[in-house]
Amino acid sequence: MWPNKFDYQRAESVDQALELIGDEGKFLAGGHSLLPVMKLRLSAPEQLVDIGRIDSLRGISANGGLTIGATATHAEIAASGDVQSMCGALADACGGVGDQAVRNFGTIGGNIAHADPASDPPTVLVACGASINIQGADGSRSVDAEAFFVDLFETDLDDGELITSVSLPNCSDCQCAYVKFPHPASRYAIVGVAVCLKMDGGTCAQADVAVGGATVKAVKCAGAEAALAGSTLDDAALNAAAEAVKADIADWLAGDVAYPESYRQQMAGVYLKRAVKAAAG
């Protein structure tokens, strides 16, 4: 409730933001992950650099693929026609984040920088092969989502680096979906599963699958993908994929007293089936 003392500055441009951010500073986007931990005094940055008004970080554009500015809010992403048509799973995920107030403030850049294992968008970004565009004092770079998420609250981002946008391939010829089992208290994901299917008639030509919530980070699930690919998504394939996904995430499980790892692992299987049905249906 009562954060430690900090300085606040608002950056007008990416360059200025990169200049202002000192060793002990933090970027402030929607504030919906950062401010709660500051209020609990679990984090005490000396300086906040507000990136919320930097024009170049805003907006969503479609040009072959999707480019989503770092400060695009969950609500904007969920409502975007381009996102809905090119990556429906991301619209699902962002539309299911927290509640309306959280979606109106929280941004995709802040969400992935924070890398809460129970977050929704990262799972879709990993499944759909997104890349994260980053700028630092020494220039810009781009990292695959899968490599970006390293561990619990840990990303590939270096101190002082800023996420500028997220790029996604055009997925409009695939069928994708994100379903989650929300924690009854926080509504974060106990398990979230994203699938992206390329169908060839009744057969699944390619499947991309990622799981979050149950894991310390969003995990790409090769075993489940293999079980689905080449199948007609019949019960046998779904059951095989559900078994495979549990093995895929076995090394990355996360849990707590109320929802232990073993339960989340099992639920990943159940929710994988639901996600495939949602994508195919």
Binding site: W2, L40, F181, D256, A258
Partner: protein, 781 residues
């Protein structure tokens, strides 16, 4: 004819200010020069305090002072336990406002700092250096009572604060030894967080010139707070004024007098400056009382034909690190006395053991003892039904006490006032379509869907209560209420009450009672409460007592006024008193309807006093003390229908039926609101709420991200029904309805879930029945 205001579902007059944010709570009150208090709290559940160094904190800019219990010395007496249950070998270990030498739960106050703003106060609190020596921790009340468990107090052997026994053990054993059937279970009534929307807050101001202390605080009972604050500070009770401004919910958690209220008072006196403290939600979860926390070993005896014979239980009730204000009375008097419920069952026995643990103190939480009793009865009844293979509805029907109008004594020695349990039961069964449901359930099971139904028949005691009983059971106070009905010359009514409503809508309901008695338009009636200087003495708002007890005082005071009005009206119209008729605010001369005095006319003339009857005093105001002759006993039947997703353990509540009888309903909308809220809270205990401590006594459910509060989208539309059985001993027949929802709903939903899971052979799941636990139970059954 105008519609009667009694029974009319008018809108709550409190709501506009509450929902527009205009209401003024304690923290909204700003005093110039106020100092902010922050409390340094123990991060350990059990530890010796080796040293406290507050010098760095005290030296910070903007910090006025830092104090420990040593600085307070004997400036504050320990906080009293005010429910001294008799014949229980009760120990009341010292509860200092700040820990002395030892901390006993995470959050126990160790030092206070006072600063010019809240941020600095928090910085300074963080800068106080405390060295602790950690001690072994025990949070489970049953474990804490065993030999060798960590001891919280030297003078509380085995941490047992009391052992309260109800009933005759030999007689009970006799019944159990000869019964055809005995079922038993271990029931865990998990700890719950009351989570009032407004956290607690306290601000004190001391006037050295008059030696008066004013304390604004979040209280359900400002007169009790005055009493206790006067006792702990040593101030004359007349010099203490306690004001409970708007209070944003309590659910019992704002009954107790906490260290924080004593500390702001002490610091305000010491420094001669006003001092304010408002807890954060994290503090609220850590230090404001918790509810429930029983481990119960319960048995029920029955005959094979379904006659229920008796119930007995051993209860380990977790008290936490100190005994809170009313704590000992909750798992004893308010619990054991309900062991008969609505059934014709002749044998009861209860041994309730109050145990000190390294956890937040517990105390009254909505229902307080009675939900824990109703739950165990309804669990046992379902278990008997299963054992003798009788339908649970049929078993209940067979054992319900038949209708009675004026007094029914049960084995716990209570005399129920009135009831028609079978009527409420059949009504609920009818709404639910019970027999059809069993068919639907069988069909669903054939398709691999798991539907379940649960029933609770209940009665409870509330409207606390006759003062004589309070005395007999060790409650250190009376349980009457008093009220003044004061009418201004222009006919506007002020009702001053000693009780202190905080969200129940009583300002509306009580005005309706007065309007009904006297004929004043309800909008002309103001209900004033919450300030010990402005209002007459009263014992507070809890135990579903404000409508029954304060309401009775107001009805009686109104009737006195009405008598005065009748005599004055007769005098003014030069008629005989016997010839005066009353109709909806008018006093008419029999036979000449145009000749009348309105209640407003009479009020004005009583104030002017130009023309009074011989011997009548001027003015238009009456007061009434009301001590109820008995508790009131609302009752009813609740039914839930659930579906369990066997793949995930997720529970969907499909229907919820509540038939409650609280006597005549003054305002059906408010009654429905109380039932809705209570039902939601009770279902939350069954399905989602529950405190989790780790082995070292750290609260793992310390925020709303982990502690699952119920939300609207968990619930279907509730189907409410009512029966109306007036209380024979009450001036307007009403019973309380503030707690029935939490009392009835928890076992209803619990039993429904177990019914749904019966194909798997699941015998029990500890609450809350989260998806993870339900799923696990299915796997291991």
């Amino acid at each position: 004819m105008s519609t009667r205001i009694f029974g009319s579902g008018i809108k709550r007059r409190e709501d506009p200010r509450l929902i527009t944010g205009e209401a003024r709570y304690t923290d909204d009150i700003k005093l110039p020069g106020v100092l902010h208090m922050a409390v340094v709290r123990s991060p350990y559940a059990h530890a010796n305090i080796v040293s406290i160094d507050s010098s760095a904190a005290a030296a910070m800019d903007g910090v006025v002072a830092a104090y420990t219990s040593e600085d307070i010395g004997d400036g504050l007496a320990g906080l009293p336990t005010a429910w001294l249950i008799p014949d229980s070998d009760l120990k009341t270990p010292e509860h200092p406002a700040l820990a002395k030498g030892k901390v006993r739960y995470v959050g126990d106050g160790v030092a206070i700092v006072l600063a010019e703003d809240r941020y600095t106060a928090q910085d300074a609190a963080d800068a106080v250096e405390v060295e602790y020596e950690e001690l072994p921790v025990v949070v489970d009340p049953e474990a804490a009572a065993q030999d060798g468990a960590p001891q919280l107090f030297d003078d509380v052997e085995n941490n047992i604060a009391f052992t309260w026994v109800m009933g005759d053990k030999t007689a009970s054993d006799g019944v159990f030894n000869t019964a055809d059937v005995v079922v038993r279970d271990k029931i865990v009534q998990q700890r719950l967080l009351p989570t009032a929307m407004e956290p607690r807050s306290a601000m004190a101001q001391y006037n050295p010139a008059t030696q008066e202390l004013t304390l604004w605080c979040t209280s359900q009972n400002p007169h009790i707070h005055r009493f206790i604050i006067s006792a702990v500070t040593g101030l004359n009770e007349n010099k203490v004024r306690v004001i409970a401004p708007e209070v944003g919910g309590g659910f019992g958690s704002k009954i107790p007098c906490y260290p924080d209220e004593a500390l702001v008072s002490w610091a305000a006196i010491k420094l001669g400056q006003p001092v304010k403290w408002t807890e954060t939600r994290s503090e609220n979860y850590q230090i404001t009382i918790h509810g429930r926390d029983h481990i119960q070993y319960v048995e029920m005896a029955a005959n094979r034909d379904g006659k229920l014979l008796g119930v007995r239980a051993t209860v380990y009730a977790g008290m936490g690190g100190y005994l809170s204000t009313a704590a000992p009375g909750i798992p004893t008097i308010l619990h054991g006395l309900l062991y008969v419920g609505p059934y014709t069952m002749d044998s009861v026995y209860c041994e309730s053991i109050g145990v000190m643990t390294n956890a937040t103190p517990t105390d009254a939480y909505r229902g307080a003892g009675r939900p824990e009793a109703t739950f165990l009865l309804e669990r046992m009844v379902d278990m008997v039904a299963k054992r003798i293979d009788m339908d649970p509805a049929e078993l209940r029907r067979k054992n319900l006490i038949p209708a009675f109008e004026d007094g029914y004594e049960v084995a716990t020695t209570l005399i129920y006032d009135s009831g028609d349990y079978p009527a409420a039961f059949e009504k609920a069964i009818g709404i639910a379509g019970y027999d059809d449901f069993r068919r639907e359930q069988a069909e669903a099971r054939a398709e691999g869907r798991y539907l379940g139904i649960g029933i609770t028949a209940y009665t409870e005691m509330c409207g606390l209560g006759p003062s004589q009983v309070a005395g007999a059971v060790g409650f250190q106070g009376g349980l009457w209420e008093s009220a003044t009905v004061r009418v201004t010359p222009t006919g506007k009514v002020q009702a001053l009450i000693g009780a202190s409503p905080h969200g129940q809508g009583s300002e509306t309901t009580l005005a309706q009672i007065i309007g009904d008695e006297l004929g004043f338009p309800v909008d002309d009636i103001e209900v004033i409460h919450g300030d010990t200087t402005e209002t007459p003495m009263g014992w507070g708002t809890y135990g579903s007592r404000t409508t029954p007890v304060t309401g009775a005082a107001l009805a009686e005071a109104s009737r006195k006024l009405k008598e005065k009005a009748r005599v004055l009206a007769a005098h003014l119209m030069e008629a005989a008193v016997e010839d005066i008729e009353y109709d909806d605010g008018k006093f008419l001369v029999k036979g000449s309807p145009d000749n009348f005095q309105s209640i407003q006319d009479v009020a004005l003339m009583a104030h002017l006093a130009w023309n009074m009857p011989e011997g009548m005093d001027p003015g238009f105001e009456e007061s009434q003390f009301y001590d109820p002759p008995n508790f009131v006993y609302p009752f009813g039947t609740h039914i839930a229908i659930v579906e369990v997703d066997a793949n995930t353990g997720d529970i969907e509540l499909k229907r919820y039926i509540a038939v409650d009888d609280c006597g005549p309903q003054i305002n059906p909308e408010i009654v429905a609101g109380q039932i809705h809220g209570g039902v939601v809270q009770g279902i939350a205990q069954a399905l989602c709420e529950g405190v989790i401590y780790d082995d070292s006594g750290q609260l793992l459910t310390g925020t709303m991200m982990d502690y699952t509060m119920p939300r609207a989208d968990m619930f279907p539309n509730f189907e409410l029904g009512e029966t109306v059985t007036p209380s024979p001993h009450h001036p307007i027949g009403v019973k309380g309805v503030g707690e029935t929802g939490t009392i009835a709903s928890t076992p209803t939903v619990y039993n429904a879930v177990l019914d749904a899971l019966s194909p798997f052979g699941v015998e029990g799941i500890d609450m809350p029945m989260t998806p993870a636990k339900v799923w696990q139970a299915i796997q291991s059954a």
